[in-house]
C-alpha cells in the first residue's frame, strides 16, 4: 500500500475509533490494607500477614534493599510522570477472609464483579475446559476446577498457597528465571508481591484444560504486584492464559508483575495474555502503568516456550516477554498484537536468547496505532558463542490509523556464532480511506470495515490464541477500534 492520507481523512478515521471502556466500573467493598508507602517494615508485614516462612521473608527484604539502590529506568520510548512510589498502597485485600474453599464463601459483590466481567466463577457456568484463578487487587480470591486438575497431577493454585503447601518447589524456582535484581520493577515486585498464580505440571502430563488467571484491580490506591510461576516437567504440556481489567480512575495505577516459566526436557509452555487494563481518557488522564517482567527458560533439550499477547489496554505498557533457549533444539516464540489508541503508549517486544545448539526462535509482532498514541516494538535477538546453528526469524508490522499516531521499531541483533542465522522483516502500512471505501462499497459498515482490516492484519497472531479465547480477542479488537461515527 502506498496511498497518502490527507487531514480530512484523518479526522474521519479518528472519530471511528475508541469506544467507552466497558470494564471501568468499581466494586464498593471494604478493604484492609497497609498505610501507603514502602519501607522494610511494610515488606516484613506483608510477609507476616501471609504467614510466610523465613526464607520467603528474607527473599523479600533482600529484594527491597536491592530496589532501594536501583534507579528507575528511563530508556523507553514513552514519556510519563513516574509512579509516586510513596503514595502506593502495597497491600490491599478485601476485608472478607482472603482464601476460599467454596465459592459460597466468596463475597457476593466480588462474585458479581467477575460475572459482570464475563468471568463467572461458578464452574457450571464457565467455559468448559478452562480453569480460572481470580485475583482481585492483591489476593487470589478463588481457583476453579482444582480437583479435576489434581486428578491429572497438575497443581494450580495461588502463589500464596503454593508457598505454604509446596515450599520446596517455590524456593527452587522463584527468582531462578527473573532474579530480584534483574531490573527496578522486578526488584520492587520481589519485595512486595501480594499474590499470583502457581502451576506445576509433573512429568509426562498433558494438562487436561486451559489454565487462566484473571487479574482485576479495584482499589484506587493500590498497586498490583503479582507473581506467576509455571513449571513444566519433562514431556509435559500446559497452556495458560491471563486476562486483565481495571476500573476507570483518573489517577495512574501501577501494575508491576513478574512471570517466570520453566520448561524441562521436551516440555512445552504456551502462555497467552489478553491485556485490557484501563487505558486512560482522551487527554491521557488516568490508566494503568503496565510494567511487567516476563521471562521463560527452555531448560531442557527440545523444549518450547511460546508467548502470545494481545495488548490493548493500559496508559503505558513496558513489557518484553522473553525466552532463554538453554536446552539444545529448544524453541522460543513471541506472537504479539499491540493496539494503542488515544494517548496510550506501548513499548513492547521480546528478547530471544540463544544458548543451546540448533535453537530456533520466531518473533511476529503487529503494532496498531491510532489516535495520538505511540507504539514501539523493541526486540533483541542474541546468539551466544556456543549456540551452533541458531535461527531467528522476526517480522514486525506496523499499521497506522490516522495522522497523529506513531509507530517505531527498535531491533537489536547480536551474534557471537558465525553459524547463526537471523532474519528480520518489517513493514508499515496505513488503513486508508480507499481501503475503507472499497469495503463499504461492498456493503460493510465503516466499523465492520476497520474491524475486518485490523483482524486481517493480526491474523497470524490471533490464530495462536487458544480457541476458547479467540472469539473474545476478535471482539476486543473490534471494540478497541470501533467508533462512534454518527
Amino acid at each position: 500500500m502506498s496511498e497518502t492520507i490527507d487531514m480530512s481523512e484523518t479526522k474521519e478515521l479518528e472519530s471511528m475509533i475508541g469506544e467507552e471502556y466497558k470494564y471501568g466500573f468499581s466494586t464498593d467493598i471494604e478493604y484492609e490494607g497497609f498505610p501507603k508507602g514502602l519501607n522494610e517494615d511494610i515488606v516484613r508485614k506483608i510477609s507476616a500477614i501471609k504467614e510466610e516462612p523465613e526464607w520467603m521473608t528474607e527473599f523479600r527484604v533482600k529484594a527491597y534493599h536491592a530496589w532501594k539502590e536501583m534507579e528507575e529506568p528511563e530508556w523507553f520510548n514513552a514519556t510519563y510522570n513516574s509512579p509516586e512510589f510513596d503514595k502506593i498502597q502495597y497491600y490491599s485485600s478485601p476485608k472478607d477472609k482472603p482464601k476460599k474453599d467454596s465459592l459460597d464463601d466468596v463475597d457476593p459483590k466480588i462474585r458479581e464483579t467477575y460475572e459482570k466481567l464475563g468471568i463467572p466463577l461458578d464452574e457450571q457456568k464457565m467455559l468448559s475446559g478452562v480453569a480460572v484463578d481470580a485475583v482481585f487487587d492483591s489476593v487470589s480470591i478463588f481457583t476453579t476446577f482444582k480437583e479435576k486438575l489434581a486428578e491429572a497431577g497438575v497443581i494450580f493454585c495461588s502463589i500464596s498457597e503454593a508457598i505454604q503447601k509446596y515450599p520446596e518447589l517455590v524456593k527452587k524456582y522463584m527468582g531462578s528465571v527473573v532474579p530480584a535484581r534483574d531490573n527496578f520493577y522486578s526488584a520492587l515486585n520481589s519485595a512486595v508481591f501480594s499474590d499470583g498464580s502457581f502451576c506445576y505440571v509433573p512429568k509426562d502430563t498433558i494438562c487436561p484444560m486451559e489454565l487462566s488467571t484473571y487479574f482485576r484491580i479495584n482499589n484506587m490506591d493500590s498497586g498490583q504486584f503479582e507473581r506467576t510461576l509455571i513449571i513444566c516437567e519433562d514431556n509435559s504440556h500446559v497452556s495458560y492464559l491471563e486476562g486483565c481489567t481495571a476500573p476507570m480512575y483518573d489517577k495512574n495505577q501501577l501494575h508491576a508483575a513478574v512471570v517466570e516459566l520453566v520448561a524441562m526436557e521436551n516440555a512445552e509452555i504456551k502462555y497467552s495474555t489478553i491485556q485490557n487494563w484501563y487505558a486512560g481518557d482522551e487527554d491521557g488522564k488516568g490508566g494503568i502503568f503496565n510494567f511487567v517482567t516476563k521471562r521463560g527458560i527452555c531448560k531442557g533439550d527440545n523444549s518450547k516456550i511460546s508467548w502470545t499477547q494481545l495488548e490493548t489496554g493500559s496508559a503505558v505498557t513496558l513489557k518484553y516477554p522473553s525466552v532463554i533457549m538453554k536446552g539444545d533444539n529448544s524453541v522460543g516464540e513471541f506472537f504479539s498484537v499491540a493496539v494503542t489508541n488515544k494517548r496510550q503508549q506501548a513499548d513492547t517486544g521480546t528478547k530471544m536468547i540463544h544458548l543451546g545448539k540448533n535453537t530456533k526462535s520466531t518473533i511476529i509482532s503487529k503494532g496498531i496505532s491510532a489516535g495520538n498514541s505511540n507504539n514501539s516494538y523493541r526486540g533483541a535477538v542474541k546468539i551466544s558463542k556456543k549456540a551452533e546453528n541458531a535461527r531467528n526469524y522476526s517480522q514486525c508490522d506496523s499499521m497506522l490509523i490516522g495522522q497523529t499516531c506513531g509507530a517505531h521499531t527498535f531491533p537489536y541483533i547480536e551474534s557471537a556464532n558465525p553459524t547463526g542465522k537471523i532474519e528480520h522483516e518489517a513493514t508499515t502500512s496505513r488503513v486508508g480511506e480507499d481501503q475503507i471505501f472499497y469495503l463499504q462499497q461492498r456493503g460493510l459498515s465503516e466499523d465492520d470495515a476497520i474491524s475486518l482490516i485490523v483482524n486481517g492484519f493480526c491474523k497470524e497472531v490471533l490464530k495462536e490464541l487458544p480457541m476458547e479465547f479467540a472469539v473474545e480477542a476478535n471482539k476486543l479488537l473490534g471494540i478497541k477500534l470501533e467508533g462512534s461515527v454518527g
Binding site: E433, F437, Q440, L452
Partner: protein, 278 residues
Amino acid sequence: MSLQKIITLRPILIDKLKNRTTVLEIKDLHVVVEGEGTEILKGVNLSIGKGEIHAIMGPNGSGKSTLSKVVAGHPEYEVTQGDILYNGESILEMDPDERAHAGIFLAFQYPVEVPGVTNSTLLRESYNTIAASRGREELDPLEFEDYIKDKLELVEMNPEFLNRSVNAGFSGGEKKRNEIFQMAVLRPQLSFLDETDSGLDIDALKVVSSGINQLHGSDDSVVLVTHYQRLLNYIEPDFVHVMINGVIAKSGGKELALKLEDQGYEWLNAYGTVNGEG
C-alpha cells in the same frame, strides 16, 4: 443529458427510450474534491434506464472515473450542485454502504488489497450484509460455497482464489476478474465498471466481457467506463457518452464509439480541452 437531446440525435434510439424505467438520473452534477476548490464535474446530466448498457468514454482526466466514484459515494468528493436520483430518490445523503445495500455496485479501477482477509470471508460478509438489509435470507458458509460455484465458472476463476487474501498478490488481470466475480455474487441493480478492461490481455478481456454479458439481464443496468473502444467489441452498449472536461459532450449509439476509435477525441475540442487538466 436530456431526453430531448438523445431523441434529436438518432431516430433509432426513440424506440429504446419508449417505456423505459429510469434507474439513475444525474442532474446538473457539480463536484469538487473535498476541501479543494477545483471543480471536476461541471454539470453532468445522465439518465440510465432499467436493462440498459451505457458506455462512458473520454480522455484521461475528463472526470469519468470521478463520476463512478461519486455515484458510489466516495468521501473524497463533494457535490456542490445538482443531484443524483436512484430509483427516483436522492442518494446524496447516503453512506457508501447504504448505496451498496440499495443495489449500486462499483467495479474498481484499482481494486484495493486487504491482507489477511480471504476473498471468501469478505464475499460472504458482503453478501449477507446486503441480503440482511434487503430482507433476504443470509447464507451459512456451506450454502454460500454452493451459491458461488457457478459464479466462479462465469469468470473462469480457480476456486483457490477464495482462500487467498483479497486482491493481495493478484495480478492486474486477476484483480479485474475478481471485481466481476464479486458483481456476479452480489447481483447489483446498477453496476459502474470503472476501466475494467484496462490491464487485461485479450483472453482475459474475452472472459470478463462474456461474464458481464451473461450477468446482464432486463432488470439490471450496466455503465462501462472506458478509455478504449476495444471493450465495446465484446459488450454492445445501448448508449455511448463522451465525457470531456467534466461534462458529457456528446451522446449517441454504439456508432459513436466507432467514430471515436477512428477519429480520436480531437473533433470534440469545442467542449473544452480534450487532454483535459482534470
